[in-house]
Symmetry: C2
Subunit: 328 residues, 2 copies
DNA sequence: CTGAAAGCGCTTACAG
DNA sequence: CTGAAAGCGCTTACAG
């Protein structure tokens, strides 16, 4: 059996109360008692039981994290930073990969509630699920509106879309097409499209946005990309709303012997570390992933700590940077 | 306050014992009582407290996962599969990114122990840390030996190294160099090198292995790669022990105007999804990541369930496949 | 078929 | 400076 506080107490010749106080460094303790207790803990290889502690304290120091999948470098990198920051603040992270499925998101949500998480960070494209659930604990969303009560943190999508489009125009592209994820979802990411369309119109060029309906669906992506090249054989610039789309565009262009950047210029969005090792030549709009993670946790902790949530701003947009590559 | 079992009991007009039994579907219950209890739970929005449950049951259904970082697509993808499989078996996952630092691994290990994990999956390049810790719960390692007591699951590294080297030879390369991670660590991954050297010797060619000392250190990698090209300007084939190295090799070759695959052929190792979207043209040895995850969890659960651990095989090597790209 | 009591391993207000 | 008692929210052996 694992030793418990009462075992330590017996060995140290004190009461469990005293051991607990030594453990938490609370109240007045004589040096002698402390040493006795430390020695006993050492001798028994005592490990405190955080479950029991959390139960009594009504505080788990646990953060639930729901992402589509850490297989995707963007979410993998986001999860890394979120966990790291949580750790530095004394929080533990329970991770959930929803594959962006509503049913899984719901199950994970309930599971996390049962596990008494102090708060949750959610990356979901399915607003509906969360909109209706009563919030028994604070939640912060990344780059997607989940409900009126759930603050959102993300990159400055409008600035990103604007920068990408402007760059393509400056490089002399006339026919510029935007490849975008599903817009039926009301998310801040739609501002990438909005910015693209605004800039295009302002420059007297017709904006053309093609939509990829399903996120995480490679075949669907591929179909849309092929259609793009078939319908617009003279396309000179493509602004893809994420780097994986951009990579697929580059691949298709190569198959069609379209030279990049001479005949076609491509700009992506995200700028993960993985991209920078695997496809460093891609010009892309880089999201400040670590800063997004920091801000999200900061908000969440504020909500957890102070029960007055009126002070937490609903939406935060963090500045992007353009990473110049060889595709523009 | 959140409702607890006794609140439900009051509303349903039964005892807490009965509510608990309904919750766990244990023992004889009259249909009428069940309905009463369900209705009460519904009415109160009752959510069971898994912390309390785990405390009593001496079983958390929690798995701790320590990886270097989910930013790296290989670990990100591995984490995804591990979590998914855990979830399907009713386990929750607490995730820890160690950045491959011994001090962090130790802290995380202790943290997970305090949280009463039923078991741990560890990916670590630092054998020492774990070798000395007494195992208070089952542990399974991925692709690295941590101690005599900790089973290892990974890809068949020898077969992978052999396949890669053989391919390069078949494609006509004479001077083939192997880029390898730190070999001071005694890990199964060293078999990639061993296989390379065996195949080279068997074919009467001199094996040359260059070592990257620090994992996750980009500058160090870059230095070694530049040195490779400077020292061996006529290199015809490079077998890199992971895809990120291979990608850096390709980048450097491009800077030096070395044509791939005409002048130089490159084979990587891992074959993650991210690679397949970002750099699909790379020929690589593909690890069966999902299968590795499955096997690891299977072993871990066996160890958790049956206390007789003699039946669990110490090492498992899962079959690799060569994914042909355009770099060979 | 159902309930009162004890206990999982902690912590804290209260008393001394 | 230290301890006995109660309680965090559950579950289960025991009794009825």
């Amino acid at each position: 059996m694992k030793p418990k506080i009462s075992d330590v107490a017996k060995v140290a010749g004190v009461s469990p109360t005293t051991v607990s106080r030594v453990l938490n460094n609370r109240g007045y303790l004589s040096e002698k008692t402390k040493k006795l207790v430390y020695r006993a803990m050492e001798e028994l290889d005592y490990v405190p039981n955080d479950l029991a502690r959390s139960l009594y304290n009504q505080r788990s120091n646990l953060i639930g994290l729901i992402v589509p999948t850490t297989s995707n470098p963007f979410f993998g990198e986001l999860a890394f930073h979120l966990e790291n920051i949580c750790d530095s603040k004394g929080f533990k992270v329970m991770i959930c990969n929803s594959s962006n499925r509503e049913d899984k998101e719901m199950k994970y949500w309930d599971m996390l509630s049962r596990n008494q998480v102090d708060g949750m960070i959610v990356v979901s494209y399915n607003r509906g699920v969360f909109n209706e659930r009563k919030l028994s604990h604070p939640v912060v969303a990344i780059d997607h509106y989940l409900s009126e009560q759930i603050p959102v943190v993300g990159s400055d999508n409008y600035a990103g879309g604007k920068a990408a489009t402007t760059l393509l125009l400056e490089k002399g592209c006339k026919e510029i097409i935007h490849l975008h994820g599903p817009t039926s979802l009301n998310t801040p990411a739609n501002l990438r499209k909005k910015a693209y369309e605004d800039v295009m119109c302002k420059n007297g060029v017709r904006p053309i946005t093609l939509e990829v309906n399903e996120i995480l669906n490679k075949q669907n992506q591929q179909r849309v990309i092929e259609q793009l090249f078939n319908t617009y054989p003279n396309v000179e610039g493509i602004f893809a709303s994420d780097d994986m789309l951009a990579a697929s565009v580059i691949r298709e262009a190569r198959l069609r012997n379209i030279e990049i950047p001479n005949q076609l210029k491509v700009v992506g969005y995200d700028g993960t570390e993985a991209l920078q090792t695997f496809l460093p030549q891609l010009t892309t709009v880089q999201q400040p992933i670590e800063q997004i993670a920091e801000t999200a946790i900061m908000k969440l902790v504020e909500m957890i700590e102070e029960k007055d949530q009126s002070e937490v701003s609903y939406e935060t947009r963090l500045p992007i940077t353009i990473k110049m590559g060889e595709t523009t």
